[in-house]
Symmetry: C2
Subunit: 392 residues, 2 copies
């Protein structure tokens, strides 16, 4: 095993830039102090810009799933009809959460590895309306991007509230909450935001806020994850419960990194690196699992019946690169490479493709390493990284 | 305003020792890696020792309130009778959480500043049995310690499951979960464990685990906070959702600090410092608010009708000491001094009493500073800190 430091190419958590680790090591202020209140007051409009909403963004001490549950528990009333687009593990998670809250969601299914089309969603909504539709922008389990704008447009037209998981798309893929007509968007800290796990972020449109306000005084099926409380506190630059202060200090630093190059450049950078990895991997003989590949994660089927595990093991043993396998039904079928956040640059695209190529060579597959690396270089020329690598 | 660094004397978060901040700044391993699995495998028995249970301790990415909700949502079935001892804001929190889950808790009330006695609890349980009793070991809002052992003994004898908030007593006051007969104990990271906020810890007795297992297959009213999932994963040194990895690295370091001197010495240290602050404050003319003062937090009524805010402002302006006011009904009535965690030593007892004395002097109250400091010294002689100050 090489003595090189480990490098994560996992679909979250991701490599954390040093300046964010430094922020975590700062002595945090008290969460009810003026200093922290000022920080929240500064953060709130910047988070609204990140989501692209004129509404409000609340920050919860929870994983992304906690944020999903907060949206489901707070925005749907008992007995209301809900529809979920499901083409992977995280679409299924919406179903499980909604069932825990006593709902019987209607599912618009998609093949794993394909996106659920706006048309499929529309057909379901044409059968019977829904109070809310639950979507997954980037389905992490299949590395698939959905046409969220198209899905949301259909759902809105049919009168539904639009709730989307943007956990692996926030600060990765173009996402503009209000323009896309998304009412609640759930993000997590350990993806495009480059932080350790522990924060969920929920962007709420004006429409979602109005709905929360209209539900004032109604019984809530949740307490800690009740968004009415969180949204009302956020309006006063406060939190209803003790926030994860250290992670919020690091969030401030993460936003600074993103703001320094601008969101469009951040999206472009992810597009460039993802395209280069896809090009290199395909040139090496891997097959893309997804029909609509996301720029957050790349899912690959190894050539010649080689098991994904062999590739993962080789990449770790030789390079200390941590790649991920498939989940659930995809466990033995695919490997996944995560490349979210500004810690990943063109060098990483080259290095991970090199590692993939070497792992095939170790399985006695004769391949031409140059071919794969040339594909990477060509791709990076076509879609350049607009910004140079920020400090790690 | 002095240029000295700020020092928290708040009832959590508390001052974080430097070595814990250093741990937060370490590059965290992936949460599904062997390295992290080994860390969880090491942590789980040490957490059981911390709680004093042969059961299991689960760690949630949430604030303490999230841990309280997890216990309430997972351990009580719809329609079951529950009793809550309430003598402060955090007793009330149990009531609010239980109501959110559709329960109609019976309340055993106590005066704020007094403890709810085991006898009062027994009288209520004698009227009608309860499936579960919800308690608060150290009531942070009134700085009051409950006789948790006595309360739990009564509740158990009457056949109830015992659930207790130990948020500000864990690693502060003597607490031995199994010996005390507590079935579920909820702790938080930012108190005696000296970490930033963001983790809830729930200690589960064998009896609580059996109850969770018996409920397997039943409908859960929660998802993210469903303890069945968390307990089943913890048994395999895993977590159901992405854990707050950085905080868990720091938790490991926190336990090392506690283990280095031993829990009894940790409890003794808190007892010594709390006694010294109480003695000094009383000698200065402050009145203890609590009839059963905890060693986690000290609640004081200022002399001569001086408003608590004046004291807080003076302590901050002159020394940069952050003290807390009262909450809710106690807002204008008391001030609270937090002294949880190993970052606080005898020097802090002296310094905070000095600051209190100076703040009275600034209000033209003639007091003898020596009297208060001598009381501190005398108290520290009577109840010594068994260990020297660990590295900050």
């Amino acid at each position: 095993m090489s003595a090189a430091p480990e490098r994560l190419f996992t679909p979250g958590p991701v490599e954390i830039p040093q300046r964010l680790l430094d922020a975590l090591a700062r002595r945090p202020p008290h969460h009810r102090s003026e200093v922290f209140k000022r920080l929240l007051a500064e953060l709130h409009p910047r988070l609204c810009s990140l989501f692209g909403t004129s509404g409000r963004v609340v920050v919860l001490a929870a994983s992304g799933t906690g944020g999903m549950e907060a949206a489901a528990a707070s925005l749907v009333r008992p007995g209301e009809s809900v529809v979920v687009a499901v083409a992977g593990k995280f679409g299924e998670r919406w179903v499980k959460i909604l069932r825990a809250y006593g709902h019987a969601p209607r599912v618009v299914p998609g093949e794993w590895g394909q996106a659920v089309s706006p048309q499929a969603l529309e057909s379901e909504l044409a059968k019977a309306p829904a109070a809310a539709v639950f979507l997954t922008h980037s389905e992490t389990s299949t590395a698939t991007l959905h046409d969220l704008r198209g899905q949301a447009e259909v759902a809105r037209r049919r009168g539904a509230l639009v709730v989307s998981d943007v956990i692996t798309s926030l600060a990765v893929h173009e996402f503009r909450q209000d323009e896309f007509q998304v009412d609640a968007a759930v993000g997590g800290s350990q993806k495009g935001l480059m932080l350790p796990p522990g924060l969920a972020l929920v962007g709420l449109s004006e429409r979602a806020l109005a709905r929360l306000e209209a539900a004032e005084g109604e019984h809530s099926p949740a307490f800690y994850l009740d968004l009415r409380r969180a949204a009302a506190s956020a309006a006063k630059d406060d939190t209803p419960f003790t926030p994860a202060v250290s992670l919020i200090l690091a969030l401030d630093e993460s936003l600074r990194m993103i703001e320094a190059i601008g969101l469009p450049a951040v999206w472009q950078r992810h597009a460039a690196i993802a395209a280069a990895i896809r090009a290199g991997a395909q040139a090496a003989g891997f097959v893309l699992f997804s029909q609509a590949p996301a720029d957050s994660v790349t899912a690959l089927i190894p050539p010649a019946g080689i098991s994904p595990k062999r590739i993962l093991d080789h990449c770790y043993a030789e390079r200390r690169f941590v790649l991920a396998g498939g989940q659930d039904a995809l466990r033995e079928k695919i490997l996944r490479i995560g490349h979210m956040g500004l810690a990943y640059g063109p060098d990483d695209a080259r290095a991970v493709v090199e590692a993939l190529v070497a792992s095939l060579a170790a399985q006695d597959l004769t391949i031409q390493p140059d071919l794969a690396l040339r594909a990477v270089a060509r791709s990076l020329k076509e879609i350049p990284c607009e910004s140079s690598s920020p400090t790690r």
